[in-house]
């Protein structure tokens, strides 16, 4: 008998001899009967239409979720998020002030919305609100700047030391640590310092050192000297001169046996370091060394 002959028998694949041999066997009748009774067996009822309907219901639920709602919802969600970001940033940016900063040994020219120009000296900060410019011409300053103000409404410069108000003119403002100076080159400038208002006509300047108003000499130029790459001082304590030198040449300075409160009158170059050092040292009768990017001023006699 061949392998799996029962299966072959069921499939009518037995040879004549095999079949007759199988029929003679005593199990044959049993097999016949098993097959006959098995043939009358019936599986549980199965309602195909009902099953198909159940699947169709789930399908529509499913396809609605995936094909129709989802992509559109996703798109809307992204669009809404973008709209919110754009609106928010628009309002946020509108409230932000325009801001300018200069580093050591750097100048910058700024054009204001009303064509007034500002020259920002080294290590200074200037900011103003572009959105409110039409209501009030106001800038905030830290450091030094030269203003050429176009004619128009009141123009104000706020510093922590005092406020400068003008109508249309050219003036220079210095607000450094302990040092506040306003010089008017054209027109009329009003300086409010410590609650007192001082009117500065053209060719005069206002200076306060460590919170005290100091008499200052009138400038004889039409522009501050730093605009022409020079720094000029008239009766200014030496320490402010040295500070300005550090700012203009981006170099650190130390002093030894030097009276930094002595008054200095003179000019130094903002471009030539060595020339500037000589210009400062000679009138003050001090000496200096320049080593490794550092300057040391020293006096040869004891103070």
């Amino acid at each position: 008998m061949q392998e799996n002959y029962l299966a072959k028998w069921l499939n009518n694949e037995l040879t004549e001899e095999e079949l007759s041999e199988f029929k003679k066997s005593e199990e044959y009748a049993s097999y016949q009967r098993i097959l006959q009774v098995t043939g009358t067996l019936e599986p549980p009822d199965y309602d195909m239409e009902e099953a198909l309907r159940a699947i169709k219901n789930k399908q529509t639920l499913h396809s609605k979720k995936v094909v129709q709602l989802h992509p559109f919802k996703k798109f809307l969600r992204i669009a809404a998020a973008i709209a919110v970001i754009i609106t928010a940033s628009y309002f946020y940016l509108n409230t932000l002030d325009e801001h300018y900063t200069t580093q050591y040994a750097e100048n910058e020219q700024i054009e204001l919305p009303d064509t007034s120009t500002v020259l920002l000296n080294a290590d200074s900060e200037l900011s103003y609100s572009d959105g409110k410019w039409d209501e009030e011409r106001n800038v905030k300053l830290k450091g030094e700047a030269f203003f050429k103000v176009a004619k128009g409404k009141k123009f104000t410069v706020d510093t922590k030391a005092g406020t400068i108000a003008v109508l249309g003119t050219q003036f220079n403002v210095v607000y450094r640590k302990d040092f506040f100076e306003v010089t008017c080159f054209e027109g009329l400038v009003s300086v409010t310092f410590d609650g007192n208002e001082t009117k500065l006509p053209a060719g005069t300047s206002f200076m306060a050192i460590s919170g005290k108003i100091v008499e200052s000499a009138a400038p004889n130029t039409t522009q501050p000297s730093w605009v022409n790459h020079e720094s000029s001082f008239k009766s200014v304590p030496l320490r402010f001169v040295i500070d300005e030198f550090e700012r203009q040449h981006n170099i650190s300075v130390e002093t030894k046996n030097v009276d930094t409160d002595q008054l200095f009158t003179g000019t130094f170059s903002n471009t030539d370091k060595n020339l500037a050092l000589k210009s400062i040292a000679a009138p003050s009768q001090i000496k200096y060394t320049l080593e490794g990017g550092k300057v040391l001023f020293y006096g040869d006699k004891k103070p």
Partner: protein, 184 residues
């Protein structure tokens, strides 16, 4: 706008003409369902003897087929649903008793003696017990062939095995049934 509309229109028509036998087409899907779902139901029932699970298997298998209709070729759909149905209860479901009804028609037409009828019922009980004691895959293979009239080749495709393996199952199943019924 008009040009865009035309392009999309052309696309759908070409899809219809090229892929009429795509499973995602509702008619194709329905045809596959109608010719296979009862067998899926029986197949799972013969294996595990649980009607509810057999219904669930049909739902699960054909929903999966619908979800993946784009990926399953129509000629592979049949094997796909049996595989899904089979995997659904792999190692999870314990086989219960398979309860099958006996059609009465053969008995009604014959006027047998009470002894014969009693003997007949006794035999049916023995057959029931013998069927339930068969291994799952032998039972499902044997019943799919004897009740549903499935060819060995079809069962082999459903189970993902060779025809020879199906023949072996048939042989062993019939042999085991006879041995148990004859009390060997």
């Amino acid at each position: 706008m008009f040009g865009f509309f035309q392009i999309s229109l052309g696309k759908t028509t070409s899809l219809k003409t090229e892929k009429t036998d795509h499973v995602c087409e509702e008619l194709v899907f329905d045809t596959i369902f109608k010719s296979n779902s009862k067998t899926v139901f029986n197949y799972i029932y013969y294996k595990f003897g649980n009607e509810e699970k057999a219904h669930d298997a049909v739902q699960e298998a054909f929903l999966k087929l619908w979800e993946n209709c784009a990926k399953v070729a129509p000629e592979k759909a049949k094997a796909y649903v049996y595989t899904v149905a089979n995997n659904l209860y792999l190692n999870v479901l314990k086989a219960e008793k398979v309860r099958l009804k006996y059609a009465d028609k053969t008995l009604k037409t014959t006027h047998e003696s009470p002894e014969f009828i009693m003997e007949e019922n006794e035999f049916k009980e023995k057959l029931d017990r013998a069927l339930n004691s068969l291994p799952e895959n032998q039972r499902s293979t044997f019943l799919l062939n004897r009740i549903d009239g499935k060819k060995y080749a079809e069962i082999a495709e459903m189970e993902g095995v060779s025809i020879k393996a199906i023949e072996k199952r048939m042989h062993l199943a019939l042999k085991a049934l006879r041995e148990q019924i004859d009390g060997i």
